[in-house]
Every structure is written in C-alpha cells, then in structure tokens.
Symmetry: C2
Subunit: 115 residues, 2 copies
C-alpha cells in the first residue's frame, strides 16, 4: 500500500511515516517510480511503534527493540544487550505509571472535592 493509505489506516501522519524511515525504523519497498510501498508487516510495525511511542519511548529506543521483534516473538540471538534494555524500559515504564497514578489521584481528588 502507498503511504497515504498506511497513514489513514494507522493514524500516523505521512510526515511521521517518512520520518520513521529516515530514522531507520521502516524500510518499505519502492515502486519503479519511487513511491513507497508498504506491506502488512510494515503496518504491524507502525502500530507497535505507535504504542511504544505513546508510552514515552524514544524512536531511538524503539529502533533498538524493533528488529528483534519481528513475528510477534522476539529473537534475542542477534541482540545481545536487548534484555538489559527491556528490563530498563520496563523500570522506566513503571516509574511513569507511578507518576501518572499520583497525578491522577491529585487531580481526581480535586474534582471530587468539588462535586
């Protein structure tokens, strides 16, 4: 599929899809005329990037993860320090969740103190 369609299907802007490629997270085929040609695997990848990204992960971090994550099952063999990255990222995520929960408590408290 072409970039516009992928954009519509994933909700990621055309601009960002090209950016992902520039950062090395995607490498779509090209048609003879130079148009990007994405497959379903690319679409899957974009969805993953989106989720990981909205969790606060940097594209750089996601990039380290992604190549090992083809096929829903990570392949760790080519990725030596990946486990470390993963554990570290889970730690970061837990921290963020904690902060968010705290904030939520604060805000929800404010709201209910008014109703």
């Amino acid at each position: 599929m072409k970039i516009g369609e992928l954009s519509r299907r994933t909700g990621v802007s055309v601009r960002m899809l090209r950016y992902y490629e520039g950062e090395g997270l995607l490498a779509p085929q090209r048609t003879s005329s130079g148009y990007r040609d994405y497959g379903t695997a690319d679409e899957e990848a974009v969805r993953r990037i989106k989720v990981l990204g909205s969790a606060g992960m940097t594209l750089e971090t996601i990039k380290q993860l992604l190549p090992c994550v083809r096929n829903n099952r990570p392949d760790f063999r080519p990725c030596d320090n990946l486990r470390r990255i993963l554990a570290q990222q889970v730690g970061l995520i837990d921290q963020r969740i904690e902060a968010l929960s705290q904030s939520r408590t604060i805000l929800a408290g404010f709201i209910s103190s008014v109703n």
Copy 2:
C-alpha cells in the same frame, strides 16, 4: 532559601527553577541584592510541578492548575473552567496509563519468553 538549596532539596536543576519562574509558575521573593528567596510553599509547589510534569503535563497546563491548588485544597472559585481542564487531564492520564500498560505487557512478555 536560595536557588541552589532548593535545587538540591527538590532535585530540579537551577536552570529549570529559573525557567519555571519565567513561565509564571513560581514567583519567589528577591533579596535586596537580587537573589531569589524561596519559601516552603515554593518548595511544595516545585514538588507538585515535578509530579505533574513527570506525568506528561505541560508546564502551561500545570500553570493553569497551580494557582488554584495552594494549600492542598483547590480553590475553584477563581478558576472557572478548571474542572473541565481537570477532567480532560485525567482522561489523558488514563490514556497514557493504558498505553504504558500495553507497552509493559509487550516488553515483559518478551523478557519472560527468554528466561
């Protein structure tokens, strides 16, 4: 207290404390020689800013919240649309928590699939 001490006590860099002031989130007293002089209320505010900020809130958003949040108990009277902001922010936070949980599941799954 002076800015260096506040920085040490809160873990927020001197640079950022001055930035907060520039953005209108803090307004410390000044000594006759121009040094910033922070009180305990400022320290409290900085801690709140820190928590709210690490929850992904913009300083601009925090700024709208902060004036109504003196004394641990929000004063809604001067803040008409605050409830709307609060509800909206809680929604955003819930979204972020959801995304983080998803990411966490993905990553933790990867890790356990290897042990």
